[in-house]
Subunit: 158 residues, 2 copies
DNA sequence: TTGAAAGTGAAAACCATTTTCAATAACTGC
DNA sequence: GCAGTTATTGAAAATGGTTTTCACTTTCAA
C-alpha cells in the first residue's frame, strides 16, 4: 500500500507533538528534505528547495523551524566559516545519519563527512568530557570537531 | 636602557616585514593588545580598547588587521555561536599562549581555555590528521575542538 | 627627500538573520 | 463538523556584524 499523502506519519510526529509543537506543512517539508539527502544545507538552500514545491512557505519559516529543530536536538547547526549557518539532521532514532565529524576545505568550502577514527575519537571525547566536566563543574552537552585544510581538488589546482 | 618609543621592535616585526606588510600604529597596537592579556576578544572589544589610546584607529582597520593576522596564522579566529567572531593570539615563537581547546557555555557564552587532556587529544589529532589526510588526499592545516554545555555558574542559577 | 604603493577612516553598502504584526492554520473540546 | 483558543505564518522592515568604497595619508625603499 503506497504512502498516504497525509501529514503526521513521520517518525518525528511523536517528538514534535510531545513538546507542544504543531505539525505544519512547512515543518514537515523541511524535515523531509533534511531526512532525504545530503546535509550541510544553508537556510537559503532549504528555502529554495522547499519553496519550489510549496510556494507559500517563506524563508522566515525555514529559519524558525530550524531553530525549533535545533532546540529539540533534531538538527545540528554548524558554522564552517563561510558566513552562513549550515544544518544537518541529527542522528535518527534508528541510527540513521550516524554521528560524524567534518573536514572543511578552506579554499572551496567543500565539507567532507568522515566516520573513520570516530571510535577512537568518541572514546577520547568521553574521557575528556568526564574529566573536564569534573574539573570545571561544566555540564557538557555537545562538541564540535572540525579539521580545516585543502581538499584533493583544490590541491590539484594549486 | 629603557625601551625606545619607536615601532618595529616586536617579535612580529620580522614576520610582518618578511611578508611585505608595513608596520603601522594600528597594527602594532592590536598586536600589543592581543599579546597582553585575555583572548576571545571581538573586533569591537579590540576597537574600543585601542581607540581609547589611539583615537584615530578605526574599527575598519581593526577588522582589516585581524584578517591579515589570521592569514599569517598569527591569530586564530573563532566562532563561539554568539554572532560575532572572536580572536586570540596564536602560539608565539617562544611557546607563549600554548595550544588549547575551548569549553563554551551555551547560556552565558563564557569561554574556558583548557589544556588538560591536551596531550591525549593532540596525539589522537595527529593520528587522525594523518589517516584522514591519506584517505581523502586532504591537506589538514588546523582543527577546532570545542565542547558546549553549561558552566558552573549557570548550573547553580538553573 | 621623494614617489609609488600600501594603508587608512568615515560612510555607505552588504547580507544573513531576526523582529514585527496582522492574517491564517492547527489543535482542543464540544 | 464547529467554534474558540493559540501557535504559526509570510511579507516587509529592522538589526547588526562585517565588508566595500574612495579620497586621503602613511610607510618605506631608493
Ligand atoms: Mn556532516
Ligand atoms: Mn582560547
Ligand atoms: Zn577545496
Ligand atoms: Zn555559563
Amino acid at each position: 500500500m503506497p504512502m498516504r499523502n497525509c501529514r503526521g506519519q513521520g517518525w518525528w510526529h511523536g517528538k514534535f507533538r510531545g513538546c507542544g509543537y504543531r505539525l505544519t506543512v512547512g515543518r514537515e517539508a523541511i524535515l523531509d528534505l533534511l531526512s532525504g539527502g545530503k546535509g550541510h544545507l544553508s537556510a537559503e538552500d532549504i528555502y529554495l528547495k522547499i519553496h519550489a514545491r510549496y510556494p507559500n512557505v517563506g524563508l522566515t519559516t525555514v529559519y524558525r523551524t530550524l531553530d525549533v529543530l535545533s532546540g529539540l536536538g533534531m538538527v545540528h547547526k554548524f558554522d564552517f566559516g563561510d558566513g552562513r549557518a549550515r544544518y544537518e539532521l541529527a542522528q535518527g532514532p534508528k541510527g540513521e545519519h550516524p554521528h560524524h565529524h567534518h573536514l572543511v576545505c578552506t579554499s572551496c568550502n567543500r565539507v567532507i563527512d568522515y566516520t573513520d577514527f570516530i571510535d577512537d575519537e568518541v572514546e577520547l571525547l568521553r574521557r575528556t568530557e568526564k574529566g573536564l566536566g569534573e574539573k570545571y563543574n561544566f555540564k557538557i552537552t555537545s562538541h564540535v570537531i572540525q579539521f580545516y585544510g585543502l581538499c584533493a581538488k583544490c590541491r590539484e589546482n594549486k
